[in-house]
């Protein structure tokens, strides 16, 4: 048993050494850890925050970034009802076809449609953004080291002037957290970038947090179901294992070992 404990400690040590620490690409600082409503065993999403974040995405980010793994029907997950979803979908023009004449046509969106991409293809996206392609945001909160904390830091980490001596290329912007500090995305957020109707302060910080919460939901829409099921499963297993232990003790009672 003692050796078992030693092994467990060594393994835990190794795991911490292997993960999290590899921020080798030197100069970008480690983003500040934020408080998120979904953290911890019991964490859940804050529906109001997700809806505000959706508003930010729709009002600002959607101009450049696609969200191709999310369908309008999925917005049920952030608390919209069927009618609201129909209305949101209908605001979008979706290309469909070919029709019986063999022509493509546009029609208003339906709940089963996916969010349309702002650019017809990567070349067009790059051409409009100084050669850089705005990445799809569906999985962004999982696709970077430090996930949501990084994206908040990125969105709020701009500097109007590059520091003295820094050679900022034409059309690039200085950002503390982007690897290499030169990013093609102009600062997308600022105070009062979108109009909140629920009285939440419309600061850059707040906008950034809200949109990142939304993006965390787009990356892990299953999070709440996952944690809820996890609690039940673990509770069951703990009870079962305790019982197995009792049975084991009983069976082994007469064995000298």
């Amino acid at each position: 048993m003692r050796k078992f404990a030693l092994t467990a400690i060594a393994a835990a040590f190794a795991l911490t050494a292997f993960t999290g620490t590899s921020q080798a690409s030197g100069d970008a600082p480690v983003p500040k850890a934020q408080d998120w409503s979904w953290q911890g065993l019991f964490g859940t999403y804050d529906r109001a925050q997700l809806q505000r974040g959706f508003q930010v995405y729709k009002g600002i980010c959607a101009g450049c970034h696609s969200l191709r793994f999310i369908a309008f029907r999925n917005l049920e997950g952030i608390g919209f009802n069927e009618d609201q979803i129909k209305a949101i979908a209908a605001e979008y023009d979706i290309e469909d076809g070919p029709n019986d004449d063999g022509d493509m046509f546009t029609r208003p969106g339906k709940p089963s449609d996916y969010f349309p991409s702002p650019f017809p293809n990567d070349k067009a996206a790059a051409a409009s953004n100084g050669g850089s392609i705005p990445p799809d945001l569906s999985l962004m909160a999982k696709a970077r080291m430090h996930g949501p904390d990084y994206v908040v830091a990125l969105l709020t980490g701009y500097e109007e002037e590059a520091p003295e001596g820094f050679d900022l290329a034409e059309g690039k912007h200085y950002n503390h957290y982007f690897p290499g500090h030169q990013i093609s995305m102009a600062p997308p957020l600022y105070d009062e970038a979108v109009e909140y109707t629920d009285g939440t302060p419309m600061t850059l910080e707040q906008h950034a947090h809200d949109v990142v919460a939304f993006l965390n939901w787009t990356a892990q829409p299953e999070l709440e179901a996952r944690k809820a099921l996890g609690l039940k499963v673990l509770l069951f297993l703990i009870v079962l294992t305790a019982m197995l232990y009792a049975v084991k003790r009983k069976i082994w009672r007469d064995i000298e070992h």
Binding site: F18, T19, R226, K248, H257
Partner: protein, 422 residues
């Protein structure tokens, strides 16, 4: 041992024609097991449990996965989002791979510590290493399937290793790829093999258990069971102990699945593969890191043999050397419990493997644990040196020179003295 008498008519009818029940009875009830096995002996059955879990979750994943470079990434996301409990199946499969290696690595270190590779268990040990090799191939090819950035670039780095071999190198790599670059044919063959190999592993496990039942389990004293008092029937004693261990293990495993499902993963693999953009750091999964460190630590050529080839050879040698340790170990004593000197070398080897893992994760010119002046590459070289020295030098020499502690006359004796629970 005589065949049992079956009272149930159906059981008897079947058993007379195909003696499955006699066989089960023989390998569970009659199978005598040392009574002093510690919890270190739980990891074999745990590994077997994970293997079954991997095969089952894998089969359900395949029902919704599309092995095409244009669709693989999206099909995985559809599993995560649109397939009922798809996220659960995928996260179990992903984390299950890590669990498999955790179990098997503990299982191997257990064998190393208690000398379970020594006669008469050499074949058992070899089959185990074959299992390890097959697992590595399976895990490597499985990691390619979601076709994320790390899938693509990991596959690029690893397959390129074969180009290190003179003359045959390049054709070999093109043959592996099924073309002149990694592409759809590569993904398809990896998918095919990833489905096949776990069943090869299953077959190897059958052989492994067959060999085990022939030579019987070793135990913490390393002294073979002699009298009937030394052994107990496998069932119910070890069935219940294995079940209890499985409970603990499931809590550990499923904690990750439900609460930290991406803990072992690389964020980059949530970016679709892009042959035009190289990620800044290409790192393999954690369970390959020690081997990756050995590969990279050879950055010099010897007698005109290029560094890359030496690195590849060293990496393969790090596993091949395990095949010969039954003869490299010259000690008459199996269990390190009674080997006051070797015990410490074992501990060094254990730590050495973690150091190698750390070095595999970091960039070569980083500082090791932030120690100014000590580069990861240098530390990796030292750790590689010790790894091989342990098997090739320490094992033969310490075995000869060391004075083992007196062995207990039997398992029962050691149990009565209360010293067996290592």
């Amino acid at each position: 041992m005589s065949a049992p008498v079956w009272n149930n008519k159906v059981v008897k009818w079947v058993d007379d024609r195909l003696p499955v029940f006699s066989m089960l009875h023989h390998s569970a009830y009659e199978y005598p097991t040392p009574k002093n096995l510690s919890y270190m002996w739980n990891f074999g059955s745990l590994a077997g449990f994970v293997l079954v879990t991997m095969i089952l979750t894998g089969i359900f994943l395949v029902m919704n996965y599309t092995p095409h470079t244009d669709m693989a990434f999206d099909s995985v996301e559809r599993i995560m989002r649109d397939v009922n409990y798809g996220w659960l199946i995928r996260y179990m499969h992903v984390n299950g791979a890590s669990m498999f290696f955790i179990c098997v690595y503990i299982h191997i270190f257990r064998g190393l510590y208690y000398g379970s590779y020594k006669a008469p268990r050499e074949m058992l040990w070899w089959i185990g290493i074959l299992i390890l090799l097959a697992m590595m191939a399976t895990a490597f090819m499985g990691y390619v399937l979601p076709w994320g950035q790390m899938s693509f670039w990991g596959a690029t780095v690893i397959t390129n290793l074969f180009s290190a071999f003179p003359i045959v190198g390049e054709p070999l790599v093109h043959w592996l790829w099924g073309g002149f670059s990694i592409g759809n044919p590569t993904l398809n063959r990896f998918f095919s093999l990833h489905y096949l190999l776990p069943f090869v592993i299953l077959g190897l496990v059958v052989l492994h258990v067959w060999a085990l039942h022939t030579v019987r389990s070793n135990n913490p004293t390393g002294v073979e069971a002699k009298t009937p008092q030394d052994s107990i029937p496998f069932h119910p004693y070890y069935t219940i102990k294995d079940l209890f261990g499985m409970g603990i293990f499931l809590i550990f495993f499923l904690f990750f699945v439900f609460f930290a499902p991406d803990f072992f993963g690389e964020p980059d693999n949530y970016i679709p593969a892009n042959p035009l953009v190289t990620p800044p750091h290409i790192v393999p999964e954690w369970y390959f890191l020690p081997f990756y460190a050995i590969l990279r630590s050879i950055d010099f050529s010897i007698f005109g043999v290029p560094a890359k080839l030496l690195g590849v050879l060293a990496m393969f040698a790090s596993i091949v050397v395990l095949f010969v340790i039954p003869w490299l170990d010259t000690s008459k004593v199996r269990s390190s419990k009674y080997r006051p000197v070797y015990k410490w070398f074992f501990l060094i080897l254990f730590i050495d493997c973690f150091i190698l893992g750390y070095c595999g994760k970091k960039a070569p010119d980083d500082y090791f644990m932030g120690i100014e002046g000590l580069h990861v590459i240098v530390m990796g070289q030292l750790a590689t040196l010790y790894y091989f020295a342990h098997f090739l030098v320490v094992m033969p020499i310490v075995g000869k020179l060391e004075r083992p502690k007196p062995l207990p006359a039997s398992i029962s004796e050691s149990v009565l003295k209360g010293g067996a629970n290592a």
